[in-house]
Structures are given as C-alpha cells and as structure tokens.
Symmetry: C2
Subunit: 167 residues, 2 copies
DNA sequence: AACAATTCGTTATGATGTTAGCATTCTGGT
DNA sequence: ACCAGAATGCTAACATCATAACGAATTGTT
C-alpha cells in the first residue's frame, strides 16, 4: 500500500519517517502511562538536570504554550516539581520527582533495546547517515527565519483569572 | 543557542529538521489562508486527482479522524467537494473546486521558489542525500508494526447525533 | 526614583492529533 | 433470502499544536 509519495516534499518525508519510527516506541511509553511529550520532558530533565521552561522548549522541541499545559498535567501527576526562584520571581525551576526518576530507570532499558532492534532492521549505517544528514540540514538552517509576510487574524476577548499557583 | 541535543534520538532530530523547514513555508500558506494540512490535501488532490478519504490518509499522512474534520472545514470553505458513490454508498469522492485549483496555481510557484532558496542555503546535495536516507529508512521500516503491549485508559460516554450531510 | 521596554511564563483560541467507538453499507457463506 | 462479519467514514473526548496577547517581574535609560 502507501500510494505514491509526492516527489520533492521534504517535510512530508520527515513526517513519514518519524511516524514510522514512533509507532515502534509509542506502545512502550503508553504501557508506562506517559505520553510522548511527557517522556521528552522527563528524559530532558534526566539528562540535563533541573531546568527552566524556556530551556525545556529548546531541549524538547515544544512551544511555550504547549509546554505550559504539559507541565501543569505532569505536576498534577507527580512527575515533576515546579518552584519559582527567589531572586527572579518570573522564572521557574522544573525538576524531576522520585516517581519520575524511577520511571526513567524502568523505561530507558526498553527504549534502548527497541532502538537497537531498529538499527538491526534498517542497518546501523543507514541510521548513522540519516543522523548526519539531519545534523547538516538543521545546522544549515540555524536561525535566520525568513522575512515575514503580513497575515493576521486574531480578534478574541481574553480575560485573565484562574490560579494554578506554582508555589 | 539551542542547547545540547540528546544524542541518539532520531525522532527528535526528525522533528527538529521538519520544524526548521516548516517555519520557512508556513507564512506562505498562511498568507493564502490555508493551513498546513489543508495544503497537503489540496496538493494531493491536485497531483493525484479526485480521491477517497482513505487514499488521502495515505497521501497526506493524516489519520482518519483528523482528515474528517479537515475535510469538513475545507468543504465549508469551498476548497473541496464531497459526494458519495452511487454503487457503494459508504464511499466518498473528494475533489477540488475551482477555487482551490486556482489556489494551487497561485501558491505552487512561491513554494518552489522557497524550496530552491532552501536548497541554496543548505546545499542541494545535502537535501538530495537526506532524501535518499529517509527513503531508505522508511522502506526498511515498511509494514510490520511491533507487537502491541496492553495499555488502555478510555472511559467516556459517546452519543451519536449531529448531521453534516455529505450529499 | 520614575518609567518605558524587555523577559518570562502563562492563558486564549481555533485547528489538529490520537484513541475508542459507532452507523451505515457491502460481502460472503449458508 | 438471510445474517454474521468486514469495510468505510464518521463522531466523541481529550491532549497537543501554533499564534497572538496578556500580567507580573526585571532591566535599561533618563
């Protein structure tokens, strides 16, 4: 199956490739009760140590607004702690809990196993080469977003309240 | 910027690369009033000709439920026509309208221009090589999804009604 | 000190993503 | 003809996404 792939469509190919890989890892995460994005955050915090939301956006390739909701849910689930700095009340420190640290230990091994299985399937040189290409691509496109093009369609009526108290 | 990328995380790199590219194309689509997914559908229909939803799922890498909403909105916007087959009332034929056909003509040239600009930026061999790698990767992972692992967390109370009459 | 500009995390809104489940229609075996 | 089962498109519920905008806190300039 899988009818003709439009030639010359890099974003589509990247999407496809990612999807093909993720179907192999998603069941694993699901079995442990975390979503894909939650796992990204947990993993980033585990490797990087406690971090601020802004850093997590970079590390996890998540937008600020997405991260806000994800962190709120993760805090409710006891997967992370959040606390404001004393010297700069705007900033927040996000850290793992004992619960999530234990989660990392339980899941990492399985992830690695699947990863090696994947390398066996498609050949480890293929994986390595893909990696190199992507690095080059991303490096080449670093920064310098193109000039903008008008466009704007907002028109709502905000209204701040609520209170999820971070501390 | 862009702190350390977790080594050995192919899905993340694919995501990053795609994102870096899309920020260059999104403003373009937005300026013409279509979303990324709507454009995928329009493009697929233009290259493939009228198609059924199931085919579009493959062509556009969209899930059925996602596509349902997208098609509904596109129909409301006058971007597509939907009509059921007579010989098999389950199946639906999706086709472009005059409006969207004209859209393709207006947008395609700009897309191509940006694409070539991108090739100039990162080098066309890099793009070509990336392409080849992704093809190999996807081909290697074709079919054979891994064995499932329990997992289940649903518990709502559906209730069918509504009526979006397709024809 | 006063105050405009900036930074940070977050909310608001609408579109999309996944998973589960359903209704309608077809198909095949009896 | 009949009816179980498969196929197809869709709905329901909820998490996530991108973008714009906001409130609070901090900084730079005067």
């Amino acid at each position: 199956m899988d009818t003709a792939i439009t030639r010359r469509n890099l974003p589509m190919m990247l999407l496809r490739a990612r999807e093909r890989i993720m179907v192999r890892f998603r069941p694993l995460l699901k079995a442990h009760g975390v979503t894909e994005q939650q796992w990204r955050v947990v993993r980033a915090l585990h490797e990087h140590g406690a971090a601020e939301p802004r850093e997590l956006c970079d590390l996890c390739a998540l937008s600020g607004p997405s991260l806000a909701g994800i962190l709120a849910r993760m805090e409710a689930l006891g997967l992370i702690d959040r606390r404001r700095f004393d010297h700069d009340r705007r900033r927040v420190r996000v850290s793992l809990t004992r619960r999530s640290t234990s989660l990392v230990h339980r899941v990492s091994a399985e992830i690695e196993a699947r990863y090696r299985e994947l390398e066996r399937t498609v050949g480890s040189e293929t994986v390595a080469r893909t990696y190199a290409c992507l690095e080059a691509l991303v490096a080449g496109l670093d920064g310098s977003p193109p000039r903008s093009l008008d466009g704007h369609t907002a028109e709502f009526t905000p209204d701040a309240d609520a209170d999820r108290g971070i501390r």
